[in-house]
Amino acid sequence: MTRYASFACSVATATLAATIAVTLPTAAEAAWQPNKPIEFVVTSGPGGGTDNFARVVQAIIAKHKLTDQPIIVTNKGGGSGAEGYIYAKTVPGDPSKVIFGTNNAYLLPYVAKLAFTPADLTPVAALALDEFLLWVNGESEFKTAKDYLAAVKAKPETFKMGGSQSKDTDQTLTSLLEATAGVKFIYVPFQGGGAAATQLAGKHIDSNTNNPNENIGQWKAGQVKPLCVFSATRLPAGPKVSGDMGWGDIPTCKDAGVAIDRFQMPRTVWLPAKVPADAVAFYTDMLKKVSETPEWKEYVERTVQTGKFMAGAELKAFIADDDAKNKQVFEREGWLVK
């Protein structure tokens, strides 16, 4: 709704920011270079989505020799990632600590009483948006999102929606879905998207809102099927994944009659607070180069994310918008702490 307007607006700022980003770094590169080993702090456990993101970036930087300094990756994924952000808070002004996360960097403090605020972090860039889809079991009678939600509406609190964790993206999206379609699910929190995928394949739950990467194996085998994607546009048409369906053949939820324009999770990179502006410019430039490599494009394509580099004003606008959207849901659900 108004989100569309702000989205169009942010596209305009994007072009502006992109021009700045391209012109700025040449000056900044001479001004600031890392002078000690860089630590990539991953706000998830080994093997998680954020972990893969950081390790792919590390591998690309090493391959293209984008910095002379060695890069160490450490996992600080405790407390849904809070551990990594709190670590950043303890090293203000240290530009050798680069924190990898999602939108949990600014959303976690809303739902849990934690010793950090978004002010303890300096946003650097977002490199991709992970997509969400509505999935049902492969043998389910439902062919469209509309049919499914109509059935859910007819029997409130009967259908089980699975997702990873609690008060996180999956449950937020479920809540949005409930408010938009006037339905009520039983939300079952699992440890991760992988568990939610197998539980759906085994018919223990009725649907999930997994990212493409989390369900692709089960979809290929025909154990689950997508109903719609929570994106403004369809996913890029690629090779067929399951039967005669490819990612591009999935309708957007809006077209399928579910009034949610888009719901995406940014893959974000941060520095601690109070770092020199030159350092931010250095990393922005480096990550921009990463996002232009064929290896990055391959990663984004394989994990069916939307490659979108955002930095500077565009990133700030995106965060503000995403923050407001989510906070609205948290307020309605009464998840806000304090």
Binding site: G78, I86, V111, Q171, P189, G194
Partner: protein, 503 residues
């Protein structure tokens, strides 16, 4: 039987000089990683993961799994020699392995451990070969109630164990549950028991607790009882290794039972740690030499090791077929699979048979390589015990603290180790069992999550734990095990009464 022709094809893929060299390197690196406590298999595998990005997937998975096997064997080594489990799943090995080593039978203890581990692993791979098609479907039957039943079964087989008083065992489990609850709760998304301290947000690492409870706690006890490790006069010879090999068939019942427990727990997937505890518990319950358990009973080494490796190996199957990692190490490998461009799931077996069967074949070869390598190095590891305590004692303290720090690079963990060391000492003095506490710390939060997820699904009705034959039989088995000592007592009382009037 289609599995076997596929397997032959797999051997064709895995049997090359390059792959065999990778296995040897991987196993050696793994042993090193496993011997250093704290630096366990997950850390070792994730450290080497970036190296594999440029390799082809088959070579990469062979290297990583070989590190895993090596680390599992290395973890048993420190459990037996220093009472410091290098891996969560080798905790149960310390119960009898360390007493054996203290009695001067370090070589025998290590040989028992390695040989039975090798046996367990081989059973696991054979199972994967035979059941690959069927298991993927079976595992889909598992939902939260079934998971809870499996964890409950693990607890039940341990509680009714006898030995320590049931009250002390339950107390120990209760403390373990409380410790496992610290940190972020995934069902409610809120923090619990952190007392506003940042250090507790990530929860309490189970490995840190184990290093303190076993490593430091035991050290303090050793100092108190005379400042020497009793393994100093250990006779070390390759002959002892060979003699142990000849002894192995005597424990065939334990071997077969433990392998079955391990495979079951690996696939269901309860995990290697639960498997080793459960297998130890069962061995103790059904052994004729029950009173010798905890004092250096070979069966107490053979059982957990067999189950541990059988579970660790067969757990690769749900990881490949379902994308469900059964352990932290499997989770790292899963990340690796995705980076190499593979999608774990039921279709992996059909789309990439080269990869899957190459991996399975390499599991046969890798474990053989690992057993040979560790057996030839046993005398060297056992020789460590000849070093005087005045030298080795301080080194163990250093290793404990370094190990605890490497778990997550947190300074706070050093204080935790100290605190757990004190707790371990107190437990020993008061004769409270530590093992139930450790078990509760490892699978306590998983059991709790599964329990709460089940109740969310059923809208609060406990009937969900009896809702289908699978979960009902698991629960019934668990309850039977839990009350076994009680039932045994009643049966004895009844038979006495029956005999009474006749006498």
């Amino acid at each position: 039987m289609e599995g076997f022709s596929a397997l032959l094809h797999g051997f064709g893929v895995a049997l090359s000089g390059y792959h065999l060299a990778l296995m040897v390197i991987g196993v050696l690196l793994g042993i090193l990683v496993g011997v250093l406590p704290g630096l366990g298999a997950p850390n070792g595998v994730s450290l080497l993961l970036p190296l594999t990005f440029t390799m082809d997937p088959v070579a990469a998975i062979i290297l990583l799994t070989s590190i895993y096997w090596g680390a599992l064997f290395g973890g048993s080594t420190t459990s037996i020699l220093f009472n410091i489990p290098g891996e969560p799943s080798s905790v149960a090995t310390t119960f009898d392995g360390y007493p054996l080593a203290k009695q001067g039978q370090a070589t025998q203890a290590l040989s028992y451990a390695f040989l039975s581990a090798g046996f367990g692993a081989l059973v696991g791979v054979v199972l994967i070969t035979a059941l690959s098609g069927w298991v993927a479907r079976f595992a889909l039957k598992f939902s939260s109630p079934e998971y809870f039943a499996v964890y409950f079964l693990a607890f039940a087989s341990f509680v009714g164990l006898g030995g320590a008083s049931p009250f002390k065992t339950v107390t120990s489990i209760g403390i373990g549950f409380a410790l496992a609850a610290v940190g972020m709760d995934s069902v409610s998304g809120s923090l619990r028991l952190t007392f506003g301290l940042d250090q507790f947000i990530a929860g309490m690492s189970f490995l840190v607790a184990v290093i303190g409870l076993f490593g430091l706690g035991e050290l303090v006890m050793t100092i108190e009882t005379g400042m020497k490790l009793e393994g100093i006069r250990a006779r070390i010879s390759p002959r002892a290794v060979f003699e142990t090999l000849l002894q192995m068939p005597r424990y065939w019942v334990a071997l077969v039972r433990s392998a079955a427990v391990g495979c079951w727990m690996g696939i269901t997937p309860g995990g290697p740690t639960a498997a080793s505890f459960m297998s130890y518990g069962l061995a103790k319950r059904f052994s004729r030499r029950r009173s010798n358990f905890g004092r250096g009973e070979p069966e107490g080494v053979v059982s957990p090791e067999t189950a541990d490796h059988a579970a660790g190996t067969s757990a690769m199957l749900p990881m490949l077929a379902l994308g469900v990692p059964g352990s932290a190490t499997a989770a790292v490998m899963l990340g690796g699979l995705m980076i190499w461009g593979l999608n774990p799931g039921p279709m992996l077996f059909i789309e990439r048979p080269d990869f899957v069967w190459g991996l399975v074949a390499s599991m046969y070869l890798g474990n053989v390589v690992a057993v040979l390598l560790v057996l030839t190095t046993v005398p060297f590891f056992a020789a460590i015990l000849r070093v005087p305590f005045a030298i080795i004692g301080p080194i163990i303290v250093v290793v404990c603290f370094v190990g605890a720090y490497t778990v997550a690079s947190r300074e706070f963990d050093l204080w935790l180790v100290l605190a757990f060391g004190a707790v371990g000492y107190a437990f020993k003095k008061l004769d409270y069992p530590i093992a139930p506490l450790v078990l509760a710390m490892v699978i306590g939060d998983k059991a709790e999550d599964a329990f709460r997820q089940s109740l969310i699904m059923s809208k609060g009705s406990a009937a969900i734990f009896w809702s289908n034959p699978l979960v009902a039989s698991l629960m019934a088995l668990a309850l039977l095990l839990l009350f076994w000592p009680l039932l045994g007592g009643i049966a004895r009382a009844m038979s006495r009464r029956a005999r009474g009037p006749a006498a």
